[in-house]
């Protein structure tokens, strides 16, 4: 009978993900409860449990390149379904951050642009300024016209404020960014 042999670096990759996520990968028995519960799984290239399998087998490049890690919104539904309390959302956070640090191929660049626009807004105002986030996101995606009718409707209903709600002590926010190190 043939068997699959995890590649030589598998153990290191598992240890790294476990240390950063505080999740236990060996507890996953691939019952697919997480994948069945995940509202986004049908749009992902790999099911959430398949990503866990990739880590177990040391398939780092595949794990960091997949769309699953970017389509995961951290809603924690998977964790509620998991019979073994594996913190799957934390694993996804770790893989995303690893993908950024190691310059992996980002399969959902639009999602990353959105995250960057939000974090950028927080660095500037200490709070999120939705209108500016939307404008920056649309500019970065070179997609100015989809949703424009929606944007105008939201403006007319004053759902999108023109001016941001701001933190007064800007320096204290900047110092948090310095403490956290450079972002992607």
């Amino acid at each position: 009978m043939k068997s699959i042999t995890p590649n030589k670096t598998a153990r290191d990759f598992v240890a790294q993900v476990e240390e950063l996520s505080h999740a236990s990968l060996s507890r996953c028995w691939h019952c697919l409860c997480c994948s069945g519960g995940c509202p986004f799984s049908e749009d992902m290239d790999y099911l959430p449990n398949a990503v866990i399998r990739m880590i177990q087998l040391g398939l780092k490049e595949q794990a960091l390149n997949c769309s699953t890690i970017w389509l995961c919104v951290g809603c924690n539904t998977c964790s509620m379904e998991c019979p073994n309390s594996v913190d799957i959302a934390a694993i996804m956070d770790v893989l995303r951050q690893m993908a950024l640090l190691e310059n992996a191929q980002i399969s959902e660049p639009g999602v990353l642009s959105f995250h960057n626009a939000v974090v950028d807004s927080i660095s500037r105002y200490g709070r999120t300024h939705k209108l500016e986030i939307m404008m920056r996101y649309k500019l970065s995606e070179k997609d100015l016209f989809s949703d424009i009718d929606l944007g105008l409707k939201m403006l007319s209903k004053r759902k999108l404020g023109l001016l941001p709600s701001k933190v007064k002590d800007k320096k204290s926010i900047q110092s948090l960014f310095e403490m956290a190190g450079d972002l992607s």
Binding site: C82, L100, V119, I122, D147, G161, L176
Partner: protein
């Protein structure tokens, strides 16, 4: 522990401060009716939202931690947004579990860390209010209103937090104590799509319309949301044929009171709830009482 504090500190979060002002105003107006005062944490900042922990965990902890350090020690901290609640609560768990992190942030913020700061979700406060009998005369106005309670991902949390209080059933309990009728339906804890509504709108649209259709098929007259982000996503990604009025939880609570709900709140909705309100004789006031100078 069922005594209600008359003054709480308050973390509104970015959504309630901006896109969902009507959520904020109705919450304040409702609590004001029961003489519960809220003091916003001075100079609070974003809890980190879904984006920060996606790209930088240290920054996510730091942003949430700043709010915990700014909160006054002698009052419980009320948090209205389930997302902010989860992030602040998670940060507190991380800090309480590590003396090293505590002292790092104590040094950074130059003030002591308060391990015992009580963080309470708006729902927990409602349970206390209900237990204290504050809702017993309020069963008239919402009587028979068929409500689809929508929690979104609010009931889910990471395994490390599974010892924390569970909010399951609280919308139903509160609504029935106010005379409303919560329907049973399958999508009450199905995620609204959060930020994918911006970056992958088709995915969000699919989820939202599944939820909206589910509510319609279950015979609901309206949906009540616990989270301002869900409220926005349901409204903006819903197809015209699946429209159903969506209320913030706090709006429906205020409607249960006489002359407390403001017409301004409902003017901000993208799905017009007025026909339902008129049909149910829940007409909001032209001018609702201003609370803390809010509603400009």
């Amino acid at each position: 522990m069922n005594q209600i504090e008359s003054q709480l500190s308050y973390f509104p979060g970015c959504s309630l401060a901006t896109t969902a002002k009507e959520n904020n105003a109705s919450l304040k107006s409702f609590l004001n009716h029961f003489d519960i005062g809220l003091t916003e944490i001075n100079d609070w900042n974003c809890c980190g939202s879904s984006s920060t922990h996606s790209v930088n965990s240290k920054l996510a902890l730091s942003l949430a931690a700043r709010n915990l350090f700014l909160a006054p020690a002698n009052q419980s901290l009320l948090i209205a947004c389930p997302g902010c609640f989860l992030h602040l609560r998670h940060a507190r768990m991380e800090l309480n579990g590590s003396k090293e992190k505590q002292s790092k942030y104590e040094k950074h913020f130059d003030r002591p860390y308060n391990q015992n700061l009580e963080l309470i979700h708006f729902f927990e406060l409602l349970v206390k209010m209900s237990k204290n009998g504050l809702f017993k005369d309020l069963t008239g106005r919402l009587k028979g209103l068929k409500i689809a309670p929508y929690y979104g991902c609010m009931l889910a949390r990471p395994p490390s937090m599974n010892q924390e209080k569970n909010h399951y059933g609280l919308i139903e309990k509160t609504m029935s104590s106010l005379g409303g009728e919560s329907i049973q339906w399958p999508y009450l804890s199905s995620c609204c799509g959060t930020f994918l509504s911006v970056s992958r709108p088709k995915i969000a649209q699919k989820l939202v319309n599944r939820i909206m259709k589910g509510a319609i098929n279950s015979g609901a007259e309206c949906i009540v949301t616990a989270c301002a982000m869900c409220h926005l996503n349901l409204e903006i990604r819903c197809k015209p044929e699946n429209r159903l009025p969506i209320f913030h939880f706090s709006e429906l609570l205020s409607l249960a009171l006489e002359k407390k709900a403001s017409r301004n709140w409902f003017n901000r909705h993208l799905i017009n709830p007025k026909p339902l309100l008129e049909q149910r004789k829940l007409i909001p006031c032209q001018k609702a009482a201003k609370v803390n100078g809010f509603f400009k």
